[in-house]
């Protein structure tokens, strides 16, 4: 049992955990859409595996969010009975799965960022949070490797795969900045000593991502305006449709056990 936190710190912790959980739930859901439709059987297995890891991590983070919130909501209630405006995932995670290049590039950009965040969170003074982050970190190391290898293969494969992968990178780049935005939620938790300052995550991310992009003979897109909004519930139109599908049974049969 973690020590009791001050009200505002506790409220920030709930928000922070929702962000961690929602990123993974939404991206895991998108990945799971590939199941049975991947380019090769090995990728049906690999993408399902990453999806499973992410939904598993989401379950743990949302469970902890529900406990910290202490309003009687468990991970399922948070996943299945919130509206799109209550979700706190980055926009990057909710974009439709696109082609294989889009899915792989998104996974790589997300997983590297997740890796550096989790590495910091594994040292959190909040024992439960540190424990989940440590477990997720191990899984994420594999996600980085798997998606990074594919970025290199696709970028340095054929001219078609190169074009598609560059197009995915160009389309996704403007959604990457949101992963590193730090607001009052982060500041409150850093000040209270719950989480470490993660300001170094972005330069580490950029260095690693740039290295892989160059090995893949691709170009790092020019920096420009970064889309944001997911952390405060201002989503794209895609999320609501995704949730309509995901939540259908829980919404249709209130209170039923499955």
């Amino acid at each position: 049992m973690a020590p009791a936190l001050d009200g505002p710190v506790q409220a920030a912790l709930v928000q922070y955990l929702l962000r961690l959980g929602d990123d993974r739930l939404v991206l895991g859901h998108r990945l799971s859409e590939w199941c049975g439709h991947a380019p090769i059987l090995e990728e049906d297995i690999a993408l399902a595996n990453i999806a499973l890891d992410l939904v598993g991590q989401a379950t743990l983070f949302l469970g902890l969010a529900g406990a910290a919130e202490a309003a009687g909501r468990d991970a399922d209630a948070l996943a299945y009975l919130r509206e799109a405006i209550d979700f706190r995932n980055v926009l990057l995670a909710e974009l439709p799965k696109g082609d294989f290049a889009f899915t792989i590039v998104r996974q790589f950009l997300f997983s590297v960022a997740a890796y550096y965040r989790l590495e910091g969170l594994a040292t959190s003074s909040h024992g439960d949070l540190a424990g989940i982050a440590g477990k997720a970190l191990k899984e994420t190391r594999y996600h980085v490797r798997h998606s990074g290898e594919w970025v290199i293969r696709l970028g340095d494969g054929t001219s078609e795969s190169h074009t598609r992968t560059q197009a995915a990178l160009d389309a996704l780049w403007r959604y990457t900045g949101e992963m590193f935005l730090a607001d009052d939620v982060d500041a409150t938790l850093v000040r209270a000593g719950v989480i470490p300052d993660l300001a170094t995550a972005e330069p580490k991310w950029l260095a690693q991502v740039t290295g892989v992009i160059e090995r893949a003979t691709l170009a790092v897109p020019p920096s420009g305006y970064m889309q944001r909004g997911g952390r405060t519930g201002r989503h794209t139109e895609h999320l609501g449709i995704m949730l309509a599908e995901m939540q259908i049974l829980q919404r249709s049969y209130p209170g039923a056990k499955w």
């Binding site: 499973l52 696709l154 795969s161």
Partner: protein, 316 residues
């Protein structure tokens, strides 16, 4: 070596002595062909089988159910891959086998041509379809061809887990709200008969049975396996208060078996020959995935050709 009568006699003696045939051993051409047909059909069934269940991954009602279903479908992809690799030991490549599936030359289990209409279908598939597969595969785990038998041992363990998961879904629904129970009963009504058909025609009408039995690929007949499945399943249905849709179902004191009513073999034949509810959709989905993925496979080959020395690029 040609299939000389002496060689065949020697081969059949090995089978009769209970020996296992391994990839490098001599085998009659017919034996090889029959195994390629059976094993590739099995692999294709795993792959096509991902579609009806994959249909509900994005709508699974809880996080636990979502993970359970994802893991199950992932296992099926793994089984498909494993059996394709086993089939390759008979001298035929995966690309060729997949091509046979996509062109409609090869068959897959007809059960996957039926639609999954409600969440309860996910329970019914696990309980009935995986349950029937276990009965069949437990027998195949003793098949005379080593790679196939070993694959079945491993796959059966996972199928047992899938079956329990499916049954548990059904038990939960059957004990749930009236709407949930209705869903569960409706799924049972739709999946029961097609599940019995999974064992194939009666042995007297099965063109391949005699040869497969003589060569130790099949150790038991289709009817015997079907009866075993019925006997196992009746009590399970009673335990969760769901009714199997067969008015003739009753214990037969003479045999100790559950007697069941006639199977609609016209329906079976219709679905096998392409006129099931979703035959076209299933094949179209596989073809779409294959053609959408072509540029990815080409890219992987091109990359490998450029970097022959390095097995895999290091991303970190």
């Amino acid at each position: 070596m040609p299939d000389s009568p002496d060689a065949i006699t020697e081969f059949e003696a090995r089978i009769a002595a209970g020996e296992t045939i391994e990839p490098k051993d001599w085998m009659p051409d017919r034996y090889r062909k029959q195994l390629i047909r059976m094993m590739s059909q099995h692999a294709h069934s795993e792959v096509v089988g991902m579609l009806p269940e994959g249909n509900w991954i994005t709508r699974a009602p809880t996080l636990r159910r979502k993970m359970g279903l994802l893991a199950k479908v992932q296992d099926e992809a793994g089984h498909g891959l494993y059996i394709y690799c086993g089939t390759e030991t008979l001298g035929v490549g995966r690309a060729e086998l997949v091509d046979q599936l996509l062109t409609g030359k090869a068959k897959y289990s007809s059960i996957f041509n039926y639609p999954t209409l409600t969440w309860a279908d996910i329970g019914a598939i696990g309980w009935f379809v995986d349950g029937a597969a276990i009965v069949n595969q437990t027998m195949l785990a003793k098949a005379s061809y080593g790679p196939y038998a070993r694959a079945m041992v491993r796959i059966c363990k996972e199928e047992n887990f899938h079956k329990r998961q499916g049954y548990e879904i059904m038990a939960t629904l059957a004990a749930g709200t009236p709407e949930q129970k209705r869903m569960a009963q409706d799924a049972v009504n739709r999946w029961w008969w097609p599940s019995l058909m999974m064992f194939g025609p009666s042995d007297k009408d099965s063109p391949n049975s005699a040869e497969l039995t003589r060569w130790g690929v099949k150790r038991k007949g289709n009817d015997e396996l079907r009866q075993r499945f019925v006997n196992l399943t009746v009590a399970q249905a009673v335990a969760i208060d769901l009714k199997l849709p067969d008015p003739e179902l009753r214990p037969d004191p003479a045999t100790g078996d559950w007697h069941f009513g006639p199977i609609d073999w016209d329906e079976f034949s219709r679905v096998v020959h392409g006129d099931g509810p979703l035959n076209r959709e299933r094949l179209a989905a596989r073809r779409q995935a294959h053609s959408d993925g072509e540029w990815v496979r080409e890219a992987a080959s091109a990359y490998a050709a450029k970097h022959t020395a390095a097995a895999a690029p290091a991303a970190a």
